[in-house]
Amino acid sequence: MTGPMINSSLDAAPVTGHVAGGWRGVLRQLVADRMGRVGLVMVAAVVLVAVAGPLLAPYDRTAVAASRTGILQSPSAAHWLGTDELGRDILRQVVAGTSVSLEIGLIATFITVLIGTTVGVLAGWFTGFVDAVLMRITDFFLVLPSLPLMIALGAIIGQSLTMIVFVIALTSWPSTARIVRSQALAVREREVVARAKTVGLSSAGILWRLILPGVLALVIANAVLVIAGSILAEATLSFLGLGDPTRTSWGQILHNAFVTGAVGNGYWWYFLPPGIGIVMVVLAFSLVGQSLERILDPRLAAAA
């Protein structure tokens, strides 16, 4: 189970967080970069399908086929992507899956980033004992292999999308925490902070007004990559049978396809489209995330 894409420089040395032209400048550079541009377009397309899909072509789980001839049909005019083992239209399932997969990815990412940023900022700001303790915990979670942990928790807690969101966040926050921590450490060393201290700004004030904005850029770049990883993680867990059978995520469709023997029997219309969907979405966010990282970290840009 791969987590968020490893920062390809692997150096703990942090980012300046300074981009010419602020956020609008970042956006401009993102569009100018081919990778970023393609990624943004793909993300926009995905969001469009996720939002418009359920409105234009809603999926009804209970719309099963009336007779045996309706099941596992290859693509036809009536069903562009054929039907599944219960005769349900696969195209609608895939479209519905867009919003489910995206929703889970976003929520899991939000929690991951929340926990990771909090831990990272606290560790980077307080240093010393607090830092050591937090980092020991973080390192421990990093060392535990994520998929077995998610499987174990899933089996114990029970199948539900809430559980999936929870276990993804639980296994993803450590790498975000590490990245945020090293950036927080760097921001802390900046003169601005020293001056703020002499002026008498409280710790909480400094944290909120200086440290947090200083790490924000990196957090966002990291968050985009975490979205990609979370969507992959949810797909994997659902495929392994830990998802909610009543919610149609792409992983869930693939699970159904697999247990129905779609691969062995060659029902390609069943397992190809959901997989392609996953690849598209994950790739889209990866492109944007990698491009953002390159823009925000000049060292990575030089090495590209």
Binding site: M1, T2, G3, M5, I6, S8, S9, L10, D11, M35, F140, L142, V143, L144, P145, S146, L147, P148, L149, I151, A152, L153, G154, A155, I156, I157, A228, L232, A235, T236, F239, L240, G241, L242, L254, F258, V263, G264, N265, G266, W268, F271, L272, G275, I278, V279, V282, L283, S286, L287, Q290, R299, L300, A302, A303, A304
Partner: protein
């Protein structure tokens, strides 16, 4: 150096202890008392349930349960499987062997091919080949491992019929010699290995590429060329040798990713290893097996991290000894 190893060993022991504690907590404290699961379909009376609990040691206070658990582990007793109705140890041991065959070969391929392609891409920096390899790596990283497995089966086994669909050996096969057995194993290995390699290779390509690019712009590379060393020596002894350092760090993260990949690939290909074992244990709610699998996976990853730390120290003299 000895001091460094000693310190790392200390952390290793502490981490392993934490893993044991986590394992115990997960499977003994979480909701889902195993006896309830067993008793569910069997309409046992209170007495029988009490005896079952006693058999599984569930009526004792938690700390002593933990000590018993650890003591059993050290004796090699991993518990009793609900579904197989036999000791967990041998089942897991056999599965582990099968997994190791798959993992060893794919890891070797991933590292060798990944670094090789990454170095190649770096040497062709700025060209379309390089750009293509980077995009290609991003695309491959976005592929879910289990789906790649499904695709490979569909194309090579179902449609083309060149390779077996699933499993480690052909069912009910008779092997006149050891070589035919190995050949059959090899045929079954090809697709699962491909599935594991295709996705994980991307990380190594990207890391070795960017690492080498950063190294190539360092002054000591110019010094090496200025000394009149052969281009190959400059690239490998000075360039790659330094670029390897982040790659070694990556292998420790890779260990965790490999576990995930193993579980997915073995499930899709019905490969009788630890991955498939944990998958089946989820379906059957066989907690002792699940627990043993989790423990082994965690321990292996912790050990891999330890090895990677030591290897890093051997490669980079700048790492402080204390």
């Amino acid at each position: 150096m000895a001091q460094y190893v000693g310190r790392k060993l200390g952390y290793l022991v502490l981490t392993l202890a934490a893993v044991l504690a986590t394992n115990f907590t997960l499977f003994h404290l979480m909701p889902g008392d195993p006896v309830t699961h067993i008793a569910r379909g069997q309409h046992l009376d209170a007495d029988a349930i009490a005896r079952l609990r006693s058999f599984y040691g569930l009526d004792m206070p938690l700390p002593s349960q933990f000590i018993t658990y650890v003591a059993h582990l050290f004796r090699g007793d991993f518990g009793w499987s609900y579904t197989y109705q036999t000791s967990v140890g041998p089942i897991v041991a056999k599965a582990l062997g099968n997994t190791l065959i798959l993992v060893t070969i794919s890891t070797l391929l991933v590292i060798v091919l990944g670094v090789g392609i990454g170095v190649f891409a770096a040497s062709r920096r700025g060209t379309r080949t390089d750009g293509g390899l980077v995009i290609g790596s991003l695309v491959f990283w976005s592929l879910p491992t289990f789906w790649v497995g499904m695709l490979l089966i569909f194309v090579f086994a179902v449609t083309l019929g060149w390779l077996p669909i699933a499993g480690m050996f052909t069912a009910d096969a008779v092997y006149p010699t050891v070589f035919t057995k190995i050949a059959d194993l090899a045929r079954h290995l090809i697709l699962p290995t491909m599935a594991m390699v295709l996705v994980d290779i991307a990380q190594f390509v990207l890391i070795s590429r960017s690492s080498l690019l950063a190294v190539l712009s360092e002054d000591y590379m110019t010094t090496a060329r200025a000394k009149g060393l052969s281009p190959r020596r400059v690239l490998w002894r000075h360039g790659v040798r330094n670029a390897l350092l982040p790659v070694v760090t990556a292998t420790s993260l890779y260990a965790s990713a490999t576990v995930g990949g193993t579980i997915q690939v073995e499930t899709v290909f019905s490969w009788p290893g630890m991955g498939q074992l944990i998958y089946l244990s989820v379906i059957r709610r066989d907690y002792p097996i699940m627990e043993a699998c989790f423990l082994i996976f965690a321990v292996v990853v912790v050990l891999a991290n330890f090895a990677s730390d030591i290897a890093y120290r051997l490669l980079d003299p700048r790492v402080r000894l204390t």
